[in-house]
Structure formats: C-alpha cells, structure tokens
Assembly symmetry: C2
Homo-oligomer: 341 residues x 2
C-alpha cells in the first residue's frame, strides 16, 4: 500500500463554537497489525453532536479527547489485515476507530456487519447508535400512549427522525421541530409527522401551542435552548422528558453563567438524573402496602415520629404561618376538640 | 349543644408570606345532618405545607380555596350525629373537613380509624398522608439501594423524618437537613440518621459535601431554594430526585422571575413531570429488541432515514462544525473510503 494514513486530531479545546484551527489533519504511515490485532480501513465515519462534549474537559459522562489525540467516533470499517482468529480480511465491522483512515484494534468492541442486510452505513445511523437512542429514549422513558402528543426537535436528523416515526407507529401524534422549510417539508411529507415547525420562526412558541392543542405528553429533548423554553410551558401533567442531548447548549457548556434551563439540564444529561414530581394520591394503589409496612415499622420502633401540637382552631393561622418558616418541630397538628366529646 | 361552630376562611390571597389578615375566623350555628349525612366534630386538624399552594390561584394540580371559603385540610373527626347507615355516632374518621370545628359529610371519602391501633392523630401523620408521601416517593421513585446516600431536608418534619428512617431500613445512609441544633440533634440521636446538617449554616454546601463523601444518590426534594442548590452539584450519576414539595419556594410562586431552579422545579412538582437524562449505552440490554424492531420497521418502510454525506476525511472538521449549526439534512456521515478497497 503506497497510500499514507490520515487522521484528524484535536489541536485545541474550543471556546464556544469549534473552529477549523481546533482540528489538525496529520499524515502518517499505515500501521501494521501486531500479534492478535486487525488493521481497519475506515469506510464511513459517523459525525454526532455528542462529539462536541468530548472536545471540552468539563465534567461529563465520558473522558475528553486529549489534546493531540485522534477525535473519537463510530465508524464502519473493513478488516484489511488480520492476526486475530475472530476476524478475516474483508470483514465489515462497526468500530470506534475515530476520525482516521486506518486504525488498529485487538478485536474488542468490534461488531461484524452483514452487508447483505442493506447499506452498511445504517450501522452508524438508523440501525446504530442514533436509531437506538431514539428507540430506547422514546419507548423506555417517554412511553408514548395512543393519542398522546410527542414533540421532538432536530426532527430531520438521525435521532429526531426516528423518534417521530416510532411515535406514530405507537399511535401517538408526532410534532417535529426543524431548521428551515426544506427540512420541515421533508419531516411532514416524507417522514409522515403530523406537523413540523421551523425553530427559526419568531412565533415558534405560539405556533407550537397551536400544533399541540391538547398539550405535550412527551418531549424528546435533544437540543435545549430556545426550543426547550417554547416546549416546557406546554407540557401536560405527567409528561415525560427523555433527555439525550442539548445541542443548542453544547457550545456554552464552558460558560460560567448559563441560562437557568441549561444549567440544570446539563447535569440531567451528563449525570443521567431522574427528576420526578409527584403527589401522594398518584400512588393510591400503594396505600395497602404503605399501611402494612409503616404500621409495622412504627410498632417495631424502626420509624419514630414527633407531633407538634397547638391548641384550638383559633391557633391554626399562626401555626400555619410558623410551619412555612420551620417554627414547628415535628408533625404540625391543631388540637381542635377533645378525643371524646 | 349550646356550643357554636367555628371555621377559618381565606380572607385574601397572600402575596409572599401569608399574614394573619389573610385568614378570618367565623362563628356560626352547628349545622344539622340532613338525609344521608353525618355531622362531624373535628378532633385533630393537620397543617401541611401544600396548603400554601391552595391559598394562591396560580396553576397547580388542585383548585385554590375560594375567597371566603373554608381552608382545606385533613382532619381526624368524630361522627356526632348520623343519618348515614355507613356510620354510627362515635365513629372516628379521617376526613377532609378543613379548618373548622364541625362539618357535614355525605360519607364519601370518609375513612374509619380504629382507635385501638394507637393515637388517632397518626392517621394524619406517620400513618397518613405525610407518611405515605415519604414511603411512595422514596421507594417508588427514589429506590434507595443498600450503601447509597439519601439526603432529605425538613428532616425533623412529618415527611422528612419518615424518609430518612425508611432509607435506613433499606440499608442506605440517611443525611438530614433541618433548621437549628435542637432539630439536628433529634434527627441524629432520636431518629438515627447518619448525620444532620443545619440549613442556616453558611457553610452548608461544604458541610454537605463532607457528610456525603460518596456523593448523593437520592435527594428527596421537599424544600427547594438554597438547600436544592447545595445538593444539586453533589448528585451522583443516575441519582433520583423525587419532588413532593418546594416549601422554600411557595411564597414566591406568584413571582414573575423566580430563580432558575424554582421556575423549572415548580412545573416538575405541579405537573408531576418526569425528566430523565440518558445515554444510549444505559440501555445496552435493549439492543436485541431494538435491532429486531427497527430493522423490521425500516424494511416495511415505516421508518425512513436520510443520509447527509461529505467526501473524504479532510471534510470531517467542517462537516462537524456544520452539524452543530444544523447545516446537515439527515444523518451526517463522512465517506472516508470506498465500499471495497
């Protein structure tokens, strides 16, 4: 092989939007496969928004790419030399080879792709990580029910396009948000979403409200920013919000004073937090379990409790005002009448 | 009965903290039970933070108390006259009779309490709504695992005290937050929490970090405000945050520009939203389901997809910068090499 290998390395950590000088293209000799290794030739490199996170060294769920390191990324690659009994020359594999033309691998984490099943590029698209992000986030967290309204941004993209179509398969209404008329037309006419709105429209909030007359039951969050702010007030009671990305916020992740939503949602994403509001009547079906366990724990002395009692109905307003300030010490009760009349 | 009935009505909607003049105490004749009705005499009135929400007419999960209406509340009451075959004079019942000495009821929603089981006041405390709030929120949403760290504020209160003790029963560490030394001592020494911090301590954030050396896995949110802000940065990956109250925010719910956390958390609470961050590898166990369903949907044309391809590895940096701005139309791929070498 007379051809040289090429790779794209991280030259510097971007502040805000990445610029060309944050990357550097390097040439080097194509490496040789050592004992137990395979040599991979990249056919397809997948580019995905999460990569912006790897360029920064702030806290996240994954380590950053080091300065001078090859940019990370999923690839579809061909095995062009193999010293590993698990792989033969000519095998097509899904790999994390990164932004480079050639890579060595010890075979761990490589998954063979059957080219007979269709274009191998789908292994990093609709049948790969983006498709599975849509599938699991929507079905396992969003749980759309027939007739419910599902909203997803970046609706013509790899994840969003799958989210809306799966929502329709499950009998929900799918409303997309995308950038520009061409994408919106594609989402409505080709992908069959019920509607698609342009996030550049200054009336986005009003139009979204119109497109979701029964509110929003699932918001599949992958952008954040202005779209989040338009969606959030329209969420219905018991709405679910799977959060897999915040592309509109990524360039601000280094900022010290992000907007209120961005600050909190960044932690939700990177730490995969679950935040869930409830009132006790939502769990009415658990009342029997509660009474059984709690009365036993109280009897056994495992749960103790303290009462803070004021006397007479007239004391209720002052006691309540005190309660809001923490003046009570224990469960606040008002003794309104004697135990026996 | 020569005695008059008394009730506390809402005189005006408070702005910020409620004041005495927002309530009015009224006297009236004790009503007579009509056909099918029972007359109740209040023994215990429970005062709970959620009542602040009922005093305001902003959006919430429940209708506000009307001006001039009796303040809502749970009570332990005695049936003192009955024209309802389901209840006898002398029965003790759990009721929503509100802030008044006497009330009529058609029997719906009344639950008999067995006084032999202990103090009837526990029916509005540890064995009632506050206890069940702790039980369901902690076990059904928080899901504490042995060895995990659970933090709860208002830790000497009706809900918080139960949360920490149940957490300990389940093998977790329980860290309380309460106001003042007496409450903190009680929480540690009487209730057996592993530690309890004073929210008035200016070093709360630092002390909390010290008390939670392995971070926080469950934060049972019932106060909001400064405690929330101290807790939030310490949450571990996959932490759960059941949200049943925001007592520190209630007086600000009418504000037009609450702090970032308050604004979002208010909606989480009143709408009982679920917000959950994830990355696709969290659902690795679903990969087989995904491939089966998605490849079928793609074959059947139910899920369509579009690829947006740039040519050559050199194009990757510019393509990636475009992706972050939405310049791509479909799944962004870089063709690094030919399908066959």
């Amino acid at each position: 092989m007379s051809q040289q290998a090429k790779r794209v390395v991280l030259a510097s950590r971007p502040v805000g939007e990445p610029k060309a000088s944050d990357f550097r293209i390097e040439e080097c000799a194509i490496p040789a496969a050592g004992e137990g290794e395979v040599l991979l030739r990249t056919i397809w490199l997948s580019l995905d928004p999460y990569m912006r996170g790897r360029m920064s060294d702030g806290p996240s769920y994954a380590a950053p790419v080091p300065i001078g390191g090859v940019m990370e990324g999923g690839t579809v690659s061909e095995v062009i030399a193999s010293n590993n009994p698990g792989f033969a020359k000519g095998d097509i594999v899904l790999s994390r080879a990164g932004w480079q033309t050639h890579a060595l691998s010890d075979g761990k984490g490589l998954n063979k792709i059957d080219p007979k099943l269709g274009s191998v590029s789908t292994a990093v698209g609709v049948l790969g990580m983006p498709g599975m992000t849509a599938y699991t986030g929507l079905l396992d967290i969003g749980k759309p029910q027939p007739g419910e309204t599902v909203v997803v941004a970046a609706a013509s993209g790899a994840v969003g396009s799958a989210v809306g179509q799966i929502a329709r398969i499950k009998g929900a209404r799918a409303i997309g948000i995308a950038g520009g008329k061409d994408k919106c037309d594609y989402v409505k006419n080709e992908l069959g979403f019920d509607d698609c709105l342009d996030h550049r429209d200054p009336d986005l909030a009003a139009k979204l409200k119109e497109a979701c007359p029964k509110g929003i039951d699932v918001y599949f969050e992958n952008v954040g920013g202005a779209v989040f702010e338009a969606v959030f007030p329209l969420l219905n009671a018991f709405a679910r919000m799977p959060v897999c990305g915040l592309i509109a916020e990524y360039n601000n992740f280094g900022e010290t004073s992000p907007k209120w939503a961005g600050k909190m949602m960044r932690a939700v994403l990177t730490k995969r937090l679950t935040i869930r509001g409830f009132i006790v009547s939502d769990f009415a079906a658990r009342h029997g379990d509660f009474l059984r366990d709690m009365s036993q724990w109280v009897r056994e002395g495992k749960v103790k409790h303290k009462e803070f009692v004021t006397e007479g109905l007239d004391s209720a307003p002052a006691a309540f005002m005190g309660l809001l300030k923490g003046a009570n010490f224990g469960k606040q009760l008002v003794r309104v009448g004697p135990d026996k009349a």
